[in-house]
Structures are given as C-alpha cells and as structure tokens.
C-alpha cells in the first residue's frame, strides 16, 4: 500500500475543484437566458453552487496549509500500490468496454467475456472457477431476470 499525506492530498483536491469551478462557470455562461421578472433564472442555482464550491475549496486549501504548518503531515490516505492501481485501471477499462458491448452484442456473450476477464484480472486462476462460475452465474441471472422477473435483457 502506498500512501499520501492527508493535507497534501486535500490541497491538490482543492486546486482541482477550483479548476472544475472555472470549467463549470464557462459552461454556465453558455446556458441560454430567458426574459423573466425574477433574478432566479436557469443559471441561478448553478451559479450559487459554483460560488459555494469555489469558496469551500479555498477553505479546504487554507485548512490543509494551516494543518501542514501547525502539525506537519499527521494523517495519511492509503492509496493502492502501482500493481493494484494498474489492476483497477484495467478493471475500469473492462467495465467501459462491457458497457459499450452490452447493448449491441447482447447480455449473454458480453457478460460471459467480461465476467471471465474480470475474474482473471482480480487474480482467479483456477480454470474451473474461471469458466464454470461465470457460465452458471450468467445463465442463472439471465433466466431469473427474463423469466421470473420479466425484465428484458438485450
């Protein structure tokens, strides 16, 4: 397990949130306005939230700086090590591919491939479990949803 200081990570997150606020503000300027008798138009609440998030992000950065100067780095956030991080990134990529394949290819083939690949990614090497469990689970779930619960699956 790798780790990073809590205050340091909060500072980076605060900066990231400020950048996000700038992006959201730009997009909010693009919202079409309507003629109205009130100041509360379609972009009223978004502006309130962008302003609020920006202020709170500044508070987060200031708090982190204060903590860092007063006590040094005390609390740590545990992060996945490089290998685990790669595994999770690959897993996310697999999920995106699964999402892309779900409708055009259909539930059974897409799920079978994603299930086996996912199990392999998380370290399953027993060939019977690697093949048998996904086949059984995919078919049982398909039957339960389509036949018993009348939920349509592609």
């Amino acid at each position: 397990m790798a780790s990073v200081g809590r205050s340091k990570s909060d500072m980076w997150i605060g900066a990231g949130l400020l950048a996000f606020c700038a992006f959201a503000a730009w997009r909010t300027l693009e919202i079409r306005q309507v003629v109205s008798t009130t100041v509360a138009g379609p972009s009223f609440v978004p502006w309130l939230m962008i302003g609020g998030t920006a202020l709170l992000s500044c508070a987060l950065i200031l708090r982190s700086l204060k903590n860092l100067h007063a006590n040094g780095e005390v609390a740590e956030v545990s992060l996945p090590d490089k290998a685990t991080f790669k595994k999770i990134a690959a897993f996310v990529a697999l999920l995106i591919a699964y999402a892309a394949a779900y409708f055009p290819i259909g539930y059974i083939p897409a799920t079978l491939v994603a299930f086996i690949a996912g199990l392999w990614l998380v370290g399953e090497r027993n060939i019977w479990v690697l093949i048998g469990f996904p086949v059984a689970m995919t078919l049982v779930v398909y039957f339960a949803f389509t036949e018993l619960l009348s939920v349509w699956l592609p």
């Binding site: 008798t37 100041v39 972009s43 609440v45 987060l60 996310v92 539930y107 998380v122």
Partner: protein, 497 residues
C-alpha cells in the same frame, strides 16, 4: 376499517415470499463485511421495476431491515462490522465469540433487533400520518426550507463537515444537468441526448454505493481474513434476558427518536444507546468484556432506526438516513413521490409499507434465529466471486430501468467518482442526498422568489418556514452534540475501522 382493507395485498403469497426473500438477501448482504444495506438496496432497486408498488417497496424495506441486522454477524464473528450501524456491537459481541458464546451473542442481537424494529414500526404507523397531515399545508417556501433542512443531513453524515459541504454543493450542481425544471432550457448536456433529462438517479446510486465498493474489494483482495468463531446454541438464558431488559427498552426508544431526526442514522443511534446503557448500568465495568446488555443496547437501537427513518421519508419526502435516501429511488421508479400527498393519492401503498415493515421484522427474527448456525459459512464466500457478481447486477440494474446504454456509462462514472470520494474522505452519502434534494430545493426556491417578486424576507417569513430554518441551524450543530454525548460515556467510536 378502510385502512385495514389496504393490508389485504400484503397477505398474498407472492408478496409474502418477496418480503421474505428481500429480508434474507439483506441479511446476507449485511453479514458480508464491506457490503452495506445501502448498497443492497441500491443494487436491487431495479428488481422492483416490474413489481406492484407494495410488493417492490416492501422487498426493499426487507433488504434494509435485514441488512442492518445482518451487520451484527461479522461484528460478532470477525470483529469486522458488516455495516457501520453494527460497529458498536463489536465491543461486546466479539469478546463473547472468543469465549465460545457466539451463538448466544447472535441470538441476543436477533432478539434485540426484533424488539427495536417492532417498537419503531408501531411509532411509524402512528406518527407518519399525523406529520403528513401537517405537511399538506406546505407551499414553495416551506418545501424550500424543508429541502434545506434535509440538506443539513450532510453535516451529520460526513465525518468532515467541510468535505461534506463540498460533496453536497457538487451534488446539487450535478443535479442541474438536463432540462431546467421551470423553463425547460437544457443545461450542461454537451449535446448528448441521453442527458437531456439529467443523470438517471438509480444508475448514479448503483455506481456510488455498489460499484465503488467493488473497487474497494479489489484493493482488499490481498488481505487475509481473520479466523471465524464456531456458532452454537443461539438462545440467551432467562437471566440474560432479564439483565438486558432495560438496555432493550432504552435502545428501542433511543433508536426511534434518532431515526426520526433526518441524517442521524443507525450508527449514531447504536453508539448513543450503548453509552446510555453503560452509563445507567449498575455494572458499567462489564461493558466491553462480552456483556449481553451491550449487544442488546446497540442492536435494538440500530434496528429501531430502520422503521423510524421512514417517518420523515413518507410524511415529508425527506430521507431519514442514507438508506432511506436510496429507498426514495425505489419509490420514484414506481412513479410515487414520497411526501404528504402520498397519503392522499396512494393510501394503500402507505399502509402496505407500514404492514410490510412489521412483516420484514418478523422474517428477520425467523431467518436470524434459524440461520445462526450457518452464518459462519456465509462469511466464507470468496471476495473475488462476490465482486464480479456485484458488477453483473450493477449493469443489469442500471440498464433495465430506462433500457438506455448511456445509463451504463453514468453508473461506471459514478462508481469511479464514489471510490475516489471514499478514498479521500468525501461523503458519497452527502452527494446522494444532494442529488435527491437538489431539484426540490431549486424548483421551490425559484418558484418562491417568483411569487414574492424576489423579496427574500417575504419568501422566508412563514411560521413553518422559520421553524424549518431553525431546525436547519440545530441540525448543523448536531455533530457537535453527538460528539459530546459519545464522549460522556467514555467510549470512542473509532475503535473499529
């Protein structure tokens, strides 16, 4: 008499089976460390899509009640709380398991959860209609103040109030994606037609609470599980019951009161109840050494919260805790809007929920006592098989509501966001509450300002509005009060990570 006739659908065989299955499923989910009742409800909401409202909603309530109770299993057997609500149960449950009394500890937890649950269900059935009657008078200012009050839940749900507030503000901003509720103008859709009506709520919830947990499970795959204790006779003796009576009664009352207050939740209730039981006990030194009243206090309180948290949800339309926030998704996909009008338009559903809460609690008792000997086997399910099975359910659940492939990307996106938020101490629950209450807040604020000609004083001057604004301030101070109460008993809630 009319109300009693609404109970009839509850006694149909398929409804009974569904509630029983929901409760059993919740129990298993709650028993597995890392899988929470919130996740169980979020994951299984789509199952209720094709069911009649009373059947579907009671299945979700069964999962909720079973899930909160199930958390005690791994608390007692593994010293790892299955859900945050059962963290306090570790204090006396695990030492009992070490002494070879795991069965008795689980038995007491089951009995206490049942008593707490039934007590709160009675209060739910008597209090919710009264509260809904008052709420019928509400207009835009009152609903705005109510939504604001509901949003202060964020303060008590988040360990770090500043990060909770950031999550909340982001949640409201995310809820703005799609068509503006007043003018219909689209906002932040980036030209993607799938986002025209905003992010679909249920896929977002599934991502936040279920898929994010899969990522956490993948991280933990390398860690070793502790040995599991053997489970024998589950029935506590008469003297055990006598000794625990005060703790049981007090825990049920504390859990019910805390459940009604939005945002406090089962975790807070069980710690306060434990502290009170210890403070008022003649033998406080026995607490923490494997003492039955300790388990009775925590488990009666955390299960009392389940039914009590439904009171603000059903009567006012604001969730009592994070699981009821997710339960709102279940009501919404049935086309039902929680709040006072539900009592007028769908009294059959409301009465059905009251009855279903009783039924689920009774099923929880039956399954709890019957399955105690096999609990240790549930905990042996390999995590990697569990993780991948959850992924499959996440996909089916997210897709089947709107049959829209965009919802799958929404779910994956919120899953990654939820995992990152959890990692860096930002509350996923705060984001979820904001996603729910954001639209209510926005539409009523704008409608109210329009009606009052932008006069804020006139907009916020009604007595009920002022009452909710005062409650908002009080609710913001709640974390401080809870901390003081926890310190009073000298128990530190952070002993169990």
């Amino acid at each position: 008499m009319e109300s009693l006739s609404y109970l009839a659908p509850l006694f149909q065989l398929d409804v009974i089976w569904t509630i029983a299955l929901g409760t059993l499923g919740g129990l298993i989910i709650g028993a597995l460390p890392g899988l929470t009742a919130t996740m169980g409800v979020a994951l299984l909401i789509p199952l209720t899509f094709g069911m009649p409202p009373v059947m579907g909603l009671n299945m979700l309530i069964g999962i909720y009640i079973g899930g909160i109770y199930g958390g005690c299993v791994s608390s007692i057997l593994l010293r790892t709380p299955g859900t945050p609500a059962s963290a306090a149960t570790v204090l006396d449950g695990y030492p009992m398991a070490q002494r070879g009394e795991a069965g008795k500890a689980l038995g007491m937890a089951t009995i206490a959860s049942t008593i707490g649950g039934l007590f709160a269900a009675v209060i739910l059935a008597s209090l919710a209609p009264q509260l809904a009657g008052i709420a019928l008078e509400f207009g835009a200012p009152e609903y705005f103040a109510l939504a604001l009050f509901g949003l202060t839940i964020i303060a008590s749900l988040s360990g770090d109030v500043l990060k909770g507030a950031i999550s909340g503000a982001l949640g409201i901003l995310i809820a703005c994606v799609g068509a503006d509720p007043i003018s219909g103008i689209t906002r932040y859709t980036f030209g993607i037609s799938g986002f025209a009506s905003g992010f679909a709520f249920t896929p977002a919830l599934i991502g936040l609470f279920a898929l994010s947990e899969v990522f956490t499970q993948i991280e933990r795959l390398a860690s070793n599980d502790p040995p599991i204790s053997l489970v024998k006779n589950p029935w506590p003796s008469r003297s055990d019951m006598k000794e625990s009576t005060n703790a049981l009664v007090r825990g049920s009352i504390i859990g019910t009161i805390i459940g009604v207050i939005p945002g406090t939740g089962s975790g807070t209730a069980s710690w306060i109840s434990y502290n009170e039981a210890r403070r008022t006990s003649k033998t406080p030194e026995k607490f923490g050494t494997g003492y039955m009243p300790g388990i009775a206090a925590t488990e009666s309180a955390n299960n009392a919260v389940c039914a009590a948290a439904l009171i603000p949800l059903l009567a006012l339309g604001i969730p009592g805790d994070v699981v009821t926030a997710v339960l709102m998704g279940g009501l919404m996909i049935q086309g039902l809007a929680p709040g006072p009008m539900l009592f007028q338009t769908n009294p059959d559903v409301v009465v059905g929920i009251f009855g279903g809460t009783f039924m689920a609690t009774i099923f929880m008792f039956i399954f709890g006592m019957a399955l105690i000997p096999v609990f240790s086997k549930i905990l042996m399910i390999p995590r990697r098989l569990l993780a991948m099975s959850i992924v499959i359910f996440c996909f089916i659940g997210s897709f089947s509501i709107n049959l829209n492939p965009v919802d799958l990307y929404t779910m994956v996106g919120f899953g990654v966001l939820g995992w990152g938020m959890h990692k860096f101490g930002f509350s996923q629950a705060a984001l979820c509450i904001a996603l729910i209450l954001g639209p209510m807040l926005e539409s009523n604020l704008r409608r109210g300002l329009l009606q009052s000609g932008d006069n804020v004083v006139e907009f916020l001057s009604g007595p009920i509005t002022l009452l909710f604004l005062a409650l908002t301030v009080l609710s913001l101070g709640w974390p401080m009060i809870a901390r003081l109460l926890a310190r009073k008993g000298g128990v530190h809630s952070n002993i169990v990570e």
